[in-house]
């Protein structure tokens, strides 16, 4: 059994209304010094050892991320 993390983030040139809303709110809450925020998704998967990296990449690209507007990174992590 392996643990896999897939991080999915909006592409840099794509508008990120969520991150923007957080960034705008922070000074109002009294937190200064945060100059930019981007918000994406994090997936934590438990996979059988038989699942290889190519398959994981495929899952991320075709399903977890929307390649038109998002970038993604797949990482195996220590359990």
């Amino acid at each position: 059994m392996a643990r896999v993390v897939v991080d999915v983030m909006p592409k840099p040139e794509i508008l990120d209304p969520q991150g923007q809303a957080v960034a705008k709110a922070l000074p109002r809450l009294g937190f200064e010094g945060v100059t930019s925020v981007r918000q994406g998704k994090r997936f934590e998967l438990e996979v059988d050892d038989a699942v290889d990296d190519a398959t994981l990449a495929k899952i991320a690209e075709t399903f977890l991320a929307n390649p038109v507007i998002e970038d993604w990174v797949v990482r195996r992590v220590e359990p």
């Binding site: 209304p17 969520q18 809303a21 957080v22 709110a25 109002r28 809450l29 918000q39």
Partner: protein
């Protein structure tokens, strides 16, 4: 005339409906702007539905920090009646006035439909006009309406009779939730029965022309009974 405040955040949508419901019930609706830390002397507050700040982070997460919310929390602690509808319910949970949280519907889809509810507690200031066990039909429209809380909180809510509204599968049918809510909870109250939050929209059910029924008016009439009586008492005591 009693004055009921209706809060407007950027992105609030159902404020016109909440104000209309307040007027239909016979009170004056007072618009309260999110950026003003001022309740303008109202007798009760409605936090209406919508998508405050787009709800991009988490429903209600940003709105609860608005200047007006500080006043609402303070007033609620003094016993002012507060009603949170849909996004307003989410804001009240985020602000800690009500326990638990609202999460993504189990179906993952936004759902807009006419929804049967059972009134489980008729002792709160927002529900005295209903018969115990009354079934009402009001619109439900939300994407993050799934009520969750830890088991201890749920036990407490149930034990103290603080579930005010529960989802029904149908009129006369058993309970069942359209969004995965724990214990089919549609609405709850604080321990004193003065702060109430619910996901469905009573303010959209005040006239059968534009809503499924006028069942929702009961909440607004209830609170007017409470603040009207309190107002009369205060007037009598102060000899006004």
């Amino acid at each position: 005339m009693s004055r009921i405040g209706v809060i407007i955040f950027p992105g609030t949508l159902d404020d016109v409906d909440a104000a209309r419901a307040v007027r239909h019930a016979g009170a004056e609706a007072v618009a309260l702007w999110h950026a003003d830390a001022d309740l303008r002397g109202v007798d009760a507050v409605v936090v209406p539905g919508g998508f405050s700040y787009g709800d991009y982070l988490r429903a209600g997460a940003i709105a609860r920090f608005a200047p007006v919310m500080g006043e609402v929390v303070a007033a609620a602690k003094r016993g002012m009646p507060v009603l949170g509808i849909c996004n307003g319910f989410q804001v009240l949970c985020e602000a800690g006035l009500l326990p638990g949280a609202l999460t993504r519907n189990a179906s993952l889809h936004f759902v807009c439909r006419d929804q049967w509810l059972r009134v489980e507690n008729t002792a709160t200031v927002w529900s005295t006009r209903f018969e115990p066990g009354a079934e009402i039909l009001v619109p439900l429209k939300s994407g993050e309406g799934c009520y969750v809380a830890d088991q201890h909180t749920l036990d407490e809510l149930e034990g103290e009779g603080r579930v005010v509204f529960r989802y029904l599968l149908d009129s006369g049918g058993g309970t069942g939730s359209p969004n995965g809510s724990r214990n089919d909870i549609a609405g709850i109250t604080d321990a004193r029965g003065r702060v109430v939050g619910l996901m469905p929209h009573p303010e959209h059910a005040i006239d059968p022309l534009t809503g499924p029924t006028d069942d929702g008016l009961g909440l607004f009439l209830s609170v007017l009974d409470a603040v009207g009586a309190a107002g009369a008492l205060a007037e009598a005591v102060s000899g006004r």
